[in-house]
Amino acid sequence: MLTIKNLHASINGKEILKGINLEIAAGEVHAIMGPNGSGKSTLSAVLAGKEDYEITQGEVIFRGKDLLELSPEERAGEGIFLAFQYPVEIPGVSMTNFMRTAVNEVREYRGLEALDAKAFLALSKEKQALVELDKKLAGRSVNEGFSGGEKKRNEIYQMAMLNPYLSILDETDSGLDIDALRIVSEGVNKLKSAENAFLVITHYQRLLDYIVPDFVHVLYDGRIVKTGPKELALELEDKGYDHIKKEVEA
């Protein structure tokens, strides 16, 4: 589904990603772990198409298409979804209006007919239930006045609404208590299928108790320095990132 080859990216002339290689197939869950500043969030932003980054080398092929040639909205249309670490508050734009616009823009991109108000509401209701999102939030502005947990549940709700092939969860666990973590994870697990894939970016092992990865990658200084099975996450938790740093530097 996704092939990243020797990806280099920099911001303001500073290289952050220094040759990422990664292969994700449908039905898989990949976790990327790493210390602060290793490039985790940069990788997710680059995949989603944030313009601040300059791609200096490498390629990203997503379902047969050159992802780096596409605008962020085209990537969403192709089936990339980024759950933001810090979901953006948009005062004055209602959740409902935002989501209906998004769903219908993506449907148009995929050559599907727009959902009418009734069909949209039915779908929305079903997906809100998935992450136990309070109905009253639909009437509010996007993320405005949402608690930390509500914001993250809202991200998963949006994911469910847009039905992506590849979902990137950027530190979705940060700022979540155990209950919210469980709800968010259960939502993700219900959405998992043989057709889609997940790239879970996290600092801690905790989230991976709930969303069990097939592969764990360790990102350090802009490169994937180690890949292993889910047990690698436990090892990291046990020994810390310093251990990896020493291994790499040795």
Binding site: V88, G92, F98, T101
Partner: protein, 420 residues
Amino acid sequence: MLTETHVKTAGWGNAELQALRARALAFFEEKGLPEVKNELYKYSNIRRLVTENGFRETELKTATDALTIPQLPFAVSGTIVLYNGTYQPALSVLPAGTEVKPASAALDGTSATQTFALPEPDAVKALALATAAEGMALLIAEDTQLEKPLLVFSYTDVEDASSLASLHVIKAGKNASASVLMLHAHSAGKRFFAQQVWQCFTGEEATLRLYDMQNEGPESFTINHFSALQAGRSTFSLTTSATGSTFMRNNVRAEHAGEGCHTELNGLFMPSEGQHIDNRTFVGHMFPDCTSDELYKGIAAADGKGIFNGKVYVARDAQKTNAYQSNKNVLLSREATINSKPELEIYADDVKCSHGSTTGQLDEQSIFYMQARGIRQAEARKLLLLAFANDVFERIPDAEIRAFFETEAEQRFAALYRDR
């Protein structure tokens, strides 16, 4: 050419009005059209505007028997048609409880002096007062409640580079309530310099809401003078949505003549390529226990220029005044300009007054967030602009007019990003 030596005063109205007009002409002759060194017109060079376009007084047609009146998506209580500033009874339909008379019928010596007394040395308004043709007086009888908006449709049909001015009165009687929607149209390809003076009087406990949809074509160079004199416990509101015209200036003045009044001024101004939209407002708190709330929002695109200059004046006796003023602007390009000049002048000590002014750009984080959800960038920008403008729409209590203004703004925003 429209210069200090050529204009003629209009010969209508009672002796007091004529004397006032003669004084206005004398003032205009002394000062001439303002240039940018005049503080009131600091950002709008009227002299250059008139000179460059060669605006001049021409013979105006004052009657027409056929006009296409815009179809609105909602019912109105009545329609008033103005043609080159002249009331057209045959094309108008008046709701019960209202009548239209010549403007002079509603201007006795006192009211004329009160409202026409030049509060500030404004030569442009002096010119308008001196030369204005007699327009209509719309009289809304005591206790009349118009459930639906009343449409005032103003059509300009002149030869190229004409100057025209007209003076109208709207008088809402005691405890009357009305919303007036103003629409404008003009013949294509003929530039005109139009000044419309709207003198409003709200009786005790009356409510008068004016909505002016300023979406004329580039031929329009327009200066509006809206004035309201409010009797005790009355409400006056004015909402302008300025998207059209090459040049637009709104001179707005509301003054309280009794206790417990409320004034609301709402403006959306959206100058784009080659456009200049200037708002000058004045709210005069002269009596205790009055409130005013003012919100102007500017969106400047391409090389558009937008201006907000608002003054809130609180007299010594106007204790317990609550006055709010806010101006927020968005710049959509490097070449766009907004000038904002809020002013407070307070002589009472027991008041709550605030004003604020901000100018920024659309939030790129929000745009990326929406794009990441599949929303095209142009659509995302449109949604943000609508959200920005929404604060103004929210203040429109008439649901149908609110929707009408929203649709106009939406079309404007869509046009801004078309083919980009």
